[in-house]
Subunit: 195 residues, 2 copies
Amino acid sequence: MTARPHEIAPRTGVAFTLDAGQSLTVIDPCGQQVADLLAYARDDVREIISGGRTLDYQSKLFLTTGDTLWSNRSRPMLVIEADDVGRHDFLLTPCSRETFEIIYGDKDPHRGCFGNLAAALEPYGIAPDTIPTAFNVFMNVTVAGDGTLAVKPPLSKAGDSIVFRARMPLIIGLTACSALQSNNGSFKPIHYRID
Amino acid sequence: MTARPHEIAPRTGVAFTLDAGQSLTVIDPCGQQVADLLAYARDDVREIISGGRTLDYQSKLFLTTGDTLWSNRSRPMLVIEADDVGRHDFLLTPCSRETFEIIYGDKDPHRGCFGNLAAALEPYGIAPDTIPTAFNVFMNVTVAGDGTLAVKPPLSKAGDSIVFRARMPLIIGLTACSALQSNNGSFKPIHYRID
């Protein structure tokens, strides 16, 4: 019997550890909700998930079943074992106070995924400046022929999930994303399960 | 009269400082040669050039004249003031021992742009783990409709250049790239000038 999933409330984030060999299932319970995923090596938090290394070794922008997420030291951190959606990327950074100021013009901006991740990861000795571009789970960014980027509604439907297998002991940061545009205009929870 | 440019020998790299307001011209003297560019804030080297933040704020993969390169703290580091080529990106990471082992199968791999940058930046107190995806000057990566990436010969011709203006005091890392595929099969120098 599978345990009930944990819930990440709208516009919040959490951090937790994962042992090598454990799986992490990230679920979109309502549909069209993005989750930002970070990974740090538990043995040395200077080893960090790297979008650039992953793009290098996988030679693609959109990662799915069978693809590996690599660290800045060129070691496999997570492997995608199952994926209902097929649209996730490493393109845009976690939304932040500055994102909301610069892109949305907000006067009293939310701390965003960046602030949520920084707060959740702080007890593990992880400094905000070391937060890289996250793996943007369920995010739907399109690339035009000239390289123009556009943030579109996620393709995930209620109950869709993606399953990762840890290849080393990890600290994971995970959010229910706080940016209106990324989530088709509303803020919803994210569920996750560790098996 | 303009001073003679500095030369970066094939498969090597350098680091130097730039004052706020100074310009950096990166020149491809032979054509079809990539240069990896990094920037760190001189006042605090934990503030680092960020491809993710730049993609966010510029909403495009390929940066050119008028575009700003942003830091991980969402501050402008460099502005592109002139550009003969129009094809540069933040997609793939600096080539490294691991790149040559994993992608090329080399038995005795070169340390690559990553090793060259790490060595050049070490006197400034910059640790290898904090080397992010570089701004890949003159690199020509194409993105297919399904997100597949391909490394193509650079579009730069002999003498082509790109000019950056520093928006804060910076430490710059700069290479003549060491990966065969990125440079259409041969290793050439890079020139640069500070004005």
